[in-house]
Symmetry: D3
Subunit: 238 residues, 6 copies
């Protein structure tokens, strides 16, 4: 099988991470995965949600948006019709994923909001948001450390995410839009730098999948996430 | 480890399925999983969503709601504040899961809407909605068949769902609310009667999980779903 | 005239009241009036609405909802399109009716919310909500008394409600959906156990009605409400 | 008992009806009842609501609004927060009341919308809206007749409305705001010019009321509505 | 060129200002400019918006609404569909304009809200709202002064507004609806009584305009606003 | 006076225009004015708004949004709370401005939507949106021409916009955020390449301004817009 992008089955798209792309944010990262482009910014707030108060923990949350023409067919602005179910589902996933790499007790008293805005979409916007969002989050934590507002780094382990899928019967890594539309099974993996699973979401679009196939996808995901973490660290110069 | 409900690690809660509980609906099923109680009704519409037209397929979708006092702390009605992100996420999952057992081409021209309303919640409302909702869906298909509006049964395979989790280090089947709140890892499995995976969603609430643990959970899920499918068929008298 | 349900003109439908149907609520009652089925739950809050503060009184309020397929034609969820005018009108009526039996000064500092959710509708859902809701309210008051949060029973007199109407020229008690659709005049009565009127709402659907007819309906209503109060007390074992 | 306004118990407030107060509307009427001031306009539409189509009838509906400073304490605009339950309840009442005087079959194909906007409120805004709104509706019907769009006058009988209440134990007619706030029982009556009842809504604000009291209020209402209909006809010059 | 209203190019429509038209408001003014009719009421609040706190200043703001049948074609109520962009734009303009004549430091601790509700529209509703709204604002300030809640008059200079436009190539003052619809260029001017500009908004509806034309319009506006301020003062008896 | 950015009073910020920055849109342009960064995309639709049908004209409209962290203080997403008044005001201005350079008759049957999304804000986002948006619009027109969907170029004249203001008593061109916050008078000018005015909006933030000052600002604006048009053409290679 030849992939539409001529990539090998286990090959990521070209990934570009650029930090400090926003003069206002406490941390920011632009991530391009092929033609998918997401801008991630971190905002530090010195108050936490009501339900986290008095738990001795801080909080990390995420919001996700798409520019109207980030897609081939223009989407109506959600400011005109309210947030879609898909948006809610994605931003809840991003939040859970980012928190998976954090020791929230160190963030006690602070909330960090990661905004992930899709400038251009070509598949994998939610996984790109997690990978890029974690870099913005890391930068915000560094800022808190530098200003001595927290005692030590709340980042326990780097977190990244990637999609895998079974396309024309073959497991492939990092689906672009064309592949995603044709995949029989599509799974998103969130892992930390040690290979620990934080979240797995696998869906059979047509038919079903079995344990064996899930294992094959997981092997691809581990490889991809390892590479993504290396790129995160390189962008951060660490 | 002793479970709060005194169950064995691989033991489902007491499941009660009752069909035809609503005089208006084209199919209906009440499902109780322990103290979790969901009423599922099927509505047949002879028109399909705009984006499904001219595809030669019909559609199955789901909506999910909770009565205000289905929970320990009363929830505000979503009719007053709009549907929460969690609601969107759950009803999208239910819809995908139900479609996983259907041959939508046979439903061409029809949409079946499954409403899943939680009367009382004690963990596992989304998986109960899938298991009970599929029974309501089955009944609606039977009605279409009987009325000769469709040529053959669109149900390819029965679909059911269950949650599993790692509680105090031990994998257990079918979490109730107390277990769910304390689980380190929590996963929902949707499978068909042949053991084919339709959806898997696993999340590490604290820490991470590994492939080995995921496999253990999947073994439990297979056992539980097999039992649930048997109960679905028994309730339907087939 | 023969009623569609074969009932006598002054005969209630079969009424079934069941208490404590919800494990979470501070009081609960399931009420079935023929094929109409409403679940009523009471929630005690230890704060009162802003405008009731410093009046030396507590408050009782109600909310009303219908499951999408409680009706013959599926209704859209109000969580998707906001609460309809009819919903507002009904829940305001239920609240006023329930307060009519209460000494709110004894409830000072507390609000009790009665949720009335229609599982299945066949006419008379608002009056069933009042009759069943008062039982849930009574139970919540008992709980407050038992926990010594209030000094004496705030229930002054039991409250129940019923509809009457003029169908094919004849006054009849407790209309079901078919009768309601064909009634020339339709009136809802809320009374306490002593026959005191709390609310009367009479509407001529076609033509007008006169004082004499109103009196006839009131005689029916008194009989019906007397029977309903007896059933409320029986369900409560008092 | 001396009424705050020095009126006799069976005396209406000073009523001023002025027609054709709006250059754009197909019918309009300004009504002042003491310090309560409502502007009513009629809009003719040559299409009917979807659910009235093919019934051989037209439709009459009403909308109700209050200017923010029509009240002593400024109210937030409903355009900012959505229509309140009270608004829905009132405009549904106005619509039903106006339809009570109409032969809708003659209006087949047309909808007449009556907008009732409260410029200043001092009690009785809903009954003033009905009384003034019917005049605007009458004018719109005349216009349809004149333009030969309908064959005969759809007005079967004039409709007006008034409130009565029991204040300090005494039945009085046409409550102003101060009386309304202190009334033990408050009832709104809608009648046609022949004394036929179209709607009655009676509520005990404190305690209950009995049949005898209801009869006393009805006598007052009949007197008031007779006078109001005379004033409607005088304003219309008929 | 003969204007539709037979006015001279530099002639205002007939202006009628009436004060104290509302018994509840802290200041009120009815303004008629030809067939345009706006009711302006002032509400004094003894709290300021959050973002104005601790600035040592008070605040003046405005809200704008139109009755549904103020226009030739009935408009849907904004309470049913939310405030339109045009409404936002206009009420922001009115607020800025009114503040332009005020020393907000004297109002420290108070907010005055000016509600401008259009009873009938025939062009120029936003400028009428400013001219009438300023009179209501003046009266509210007088009330604060009288009650010794503020030390001196916060009105620095009277503010009024008028539209001008180029119709059929000729600059004219105070456009009515017909002229407004046909104007090539349309400009709204807000000035104080000393001729100081507070706001200018000029738009070319078709083609463009040049500096010379803008100057001609400004000359007309100065004349009109001078006359309007004289009428404001006359209505106030100062 | 030394400007915060060390610019001369009549000096624009550094302007960067880049075309074809989006692979999906029918035209796109990224514009940077100093630290203000806006992405403008054009979407061609082959249907027009209802109210433009049968007029023989096409339509050009605009929408405007800001990323949450485009500003120093994070803004809530409008998808969560609805579009603010400021957003409505700005996007209406952008639409009017863009249409000012177009012959809409040539666009008959088409609507072009220009989305202007602010990636980073530092003053002048609405004028940057107009200047950049016109380039995207031009590209979309070229595409329609190339595909022979329209017969000739609907662009009559290039349109650009710039703000001017009086800061510390001195008129300056192209305010950045710091200057904008301190300006006594602030005006936005939209002109075409021939110096024709399309829109002028001038506001006195404190005090008032006079005709002389307005003239000075207009001279600056003419100079700036001339330079901006040259940059637009250069970016387009024409």
């Amino acid at each position: 099988m030849i992939r539409p992008s001529d990539r090998m089955p286990d090959e990521l798209r070209k990934i570009e991470l650029e930090i400090n792309v926003n003069k206002h944010a406490e941390g920011s990262c632009s991530i391009k995965c092929g033609d998918t482009h997401v801008i991630c910014t971190a905002t530090i707030e010195d108050k936490v949600p009501k339900w986290i108060k008095d738990t001795g923990e801080g909080w990390v949350t995420a919001e996700y948006g798409m520019l109207p023409r980030s897609t081939d067919i223009r989407m109506d602005r959600e400011s005109k019709k309210g947030q879609a179910g898909r948006t809610h589902e994605i931003q809840r996933l991003i939040g859970r994923a980012l928190r998976g790499g954090m020791d929230l007790r160190i963030l006690d008293g602070f909330q960090i909001k990661i905004d992930c805005d899709v400038i251009q979409a070509d598949g994998g916007t939610r996984t790109a948001s997690i990978t890029g969002g974690f870099v913005a989050l890391y930068l915000a934590c560094q800022k808190l450390l530098k200003e001595e507002k927290i005692a030590k780094n709340p980042v326990k382990a780097f977190v990244a995410a990637v999609s895998c899928g079974i396309v024309q019967g073959e497991p492939v890594l990092d689906l672009d839009y064309v592949e995603d539309s044709n995949a029989g099974t599509d799974a998103n993996f969130v892992m930390d730098e040690n290979g620990g699973l934080i979240e797995i979401q696998g869906t059979a679009e047509h038919g079903t999948f079995d344990k064996e196939q899930l294992s094959q996808l997981m092997v691809l995901a581990e490889k991809g996430i390892k590479e993504l973490v290396a790129l995160q660290k390189k962008a951060l110069g660490i």
